[in-house]
């Protein structure tokens, strides 16, 4: 039993140890480096085609192609969190005890042993000196506390006491930021939506897991435009968006790259653009009957071939299909059969493969339309992250640049004399050089005031 609690204690100590903190920081740094050197976002199949089988197996097992989302990388982040929680829990009671500590008495002999201490003699009695000392101290220090002492005046004065707690604020802020990120990934979503001019949609394709979700409202793109500077560099990408709810337009806004639109918690960012097929004019020749038909196919709309029960639609469009130029997929739907389709090369109208079943297809002309690529996001955790960021900055700034400064003062009768003897000592939790200057100034001010009060008598 004894041994077991010893083991758990050792384990707990190790979890909160500084060695672990520094190791985790350095290991995280090294792993992050691997992630920036290895191409991220390859699918397992792509990895297998690029690397030798053994290497590919290793890469896929360790998840090197999507390193920052792997379980083991997140475990490292979790370990950092556990480490900072345990180490904060272990140190906090000590800090609090130190902050709560109140002197019960001040031993003048001990004050002389401080690295920063000063003896001041005066022609006043300690009762006369007391208001001068309290006055000088309370100008510099917010909290001046008298230590009960019958035959002398003894007090402590301190400031910046909370600076010792700031390091816990920094630690907590890391947890808050990660909590915000976690909430965002659980309750939020991130995806994209491509809208042609005039088109409206509620469907967002998510980045993770090849899924789509439907928004409770539709977004319509009225216009997408790019403007350029004189030297040809792009100046502005602008999408004029409108929100449509139950067929009614309820909100309108133009978005730019740095100026997104937020509607009921969902934010739309200008992310990309491109052009897509609006409609295509085609000539279909029935190779069985020799008849030919001229049709206009609006993108993704079924059109019936006159005099038949066959319907065709332009289903997919690429500006450059495998270096063969522009191409589109034409799908033929015939009653009683599964739809069949094929890539039709638009620029190579004589290509013998431009056919679907018994129809030879020739594209006579196409009309394109611009589409805007929107990044769509809902992140309820973002405000928690912002809060964490603010706390972290304040915490770091105050941990670095504030110190806990404390003064001990004792003023009492010196042996066999009615004049008082004054002892002052000081200590600072950091930056002792700056505090030394402050301490000396304080002592000189006290000395001067005591002198002028003495001559006043």
């Amino acid at each position: 039993m004894q041994k077991e609690s010893g083991f758990f204690q050792a384990f707990y100590d190790a979890l909160g140890s500084l060695k672990l903190t520094v190791s985790v920081f350095l290991v995280l740094a090294v792993c992050s480096i691997i992630g920036t050197l290895f191409p991220q976002g390859l699918t397992p199949d792509e990895v297998e085609s690029r690397f030798r089988p053994g290497v590919a197996w290793l890469v896929n097992t360790l998840g090197l192609a999507d390193l920052y989302r792997t379980g083991w990388f997140r475990t490292l982040l979790l370990l950092l969190c556990v480490n900072l929680v345990v180490c904060s829990l272990r140190r906090l009671p000590k800090t609090l005890r130190l902050l709560r500590h109140r002197e019960e008495r001040i031993d003048p002999a001990k004050l002389g042993k401080f690295s920063m201490s000063r003896n001041i003699s005066t022609g006043l009695s300690w009762q006369e000196a007391e208001p001068i000392l309290t006055g000088a101290l309370s100008e510099e220090f917010r909290s001046v506390e008298r230590v009960p002492e019958a035959e002398a005046f003894a007090a402590t004065a301190e400031k910046g006491r909370s600076s010792a707690l700031m390091v816990y604020v920094v630690h907590l802020s890391v947890l808050v930021i990660l909590l915000g990120a976690l909430l965002g990934s659980i309750f939020g979503f991130k995806g994209f939506m491509n809208l042609s001019e005039g088109e409206s949609s509620a469907e967002v394709v998510l980045y993770q897991g090849n899924q789509a979700i439907m928004l409770p409202f539709e977004v319509r793109c009225d216009k997408f435009s790019v403007t350029y500077y004189d030297n040809g560099m792009p100046r502005e990408y602008r999408s004029d968006l409108a929100v449509v709810e139950k067929g009614k337009e309820v909100y309108k806004q133009s978005i730019l790259v740095n100026d997104p639109m937020t509607y009921s918690g969902v934010t739309f960012y200008q992310a990309s653009y491109g052009s897509t097929l609006k409609q295509a004019e085609v000539e279909l020749q029935d190779r069985d009957s020799g008849k030919s038909y001229r049709l206009v196919l609006p993108f993704r709309q079924m059109v019936e071939i006159p005099g038949t029960r066959d319907r065709v639609q332009a289903f997919e469009y690429r500006q450059d299909l495998g270096r063969m130029g522009a191409a589109m997929v034409v799908v033929l739907s015939r009653e009683g059969q599964d739809p069949s389709g094929s890539w039709i090369l638009i620029d190579k109208s004589d290509f013998h493969g431009n056919r679907v079943q018994n129809y030879q297809i020739k594209v006579l002309g196409t009309e394109q339309s611009n589409y805007t690529g929107l990044q769509v996001k809902r992140d309820p955790g973002v405000w928690i992250v912002w809060f964490g960021f603010t706390a972290m900055l304040l915490g770091i700034g105050m941990t670095f640049y504030m110190s806990h400064r404390k003064i001990w003062i004792w003023c009492g009768p010196s042996a066999g004399d009615r004049f008082a003897k004054i002892l002052i000592a000081g200590r600072s939790s950091k930056n002792p050089l700056a505090f030394e200057r402050e301490f000396n100034e304080l002592c000189e001010r006290i000395d001067e005031r005591l002198k002028s009060a003495g001559t006043g008598n």
Partner: protein, 283 residues
Amino acid sequence: MIDSSLLLAVTTFAYLACMLFYLAGVIFHYRPILSWGTYTGFGTLGIQTAAILLRWKESYDLGYGHAPLSNLYESLVFAAWAIMLIYLVMELRSRQRTLGVFPALFAFLAMAYASFSTGIDSKIQPLLPALKSNWLIAHVVTCFLGYAAFAVSCGISFLYLLRKTQTDNPGPKGFFAILPEARQLDEFNYQMILFGFLWLSLGIITGSVWANSAWGTYWSWDPKETWSLITWFIYAALLHARTLQGWRGTRVAWLSLVGFGCVLFTYFGVNFLLSGLHSYATR
């Protein structure tokens, strides 16, 4: 006609002169030359400040109207400015003139690289849509103040390690005896790292807030983001080790050099070797 490029050319050579003064002062143990270094440093910083403001105005005259922080050339100029500003403030506060060699050298190298590299375009360019944001100034200024503090810290670390090589001969006749004591160098180094860490944190956070409003995500593990986080990890490890484990001196100096290596990779390596969202910083 005085324009910003003329002033920046003057700045480049004046930083070289400044570095040589500091170097000569340290080598010949002659303090008056060190103060020439200081005067040259302040004078050049003034000229460079004027040049940066002038370039800002010139961009308005061209009809573009943006702060001169938009590409690699302008960021190098700003880096040199920030390094010298931070160093000279430290020099005033610490009253130590012997630490100026490396900051002046880094400032000169940044200016020389910006001016003479054929791959860097010094023309004032209009802003890309991605950079049109009020966050641009906040993000670049905070990051570069951090980088500059780490550059100064790297210089102090070099001096510390040089000084340490002479521990066998600590007398007043040692070659590096004109430098502050090792203990003092360690303290300056620590103060610089604290300062840099605060600004690096601010830089990462402003970048993160900006990314959220431009790209819709405050963290995307883009190589630049990741490398700035790696740098942050290294300096965080250093600060923890120094505060709690009592690491002093040599180990801190070496970690600071590693940290500055990460800063350099974040700044240059990521731009040239890795692709990502920060690609506009390559030209």
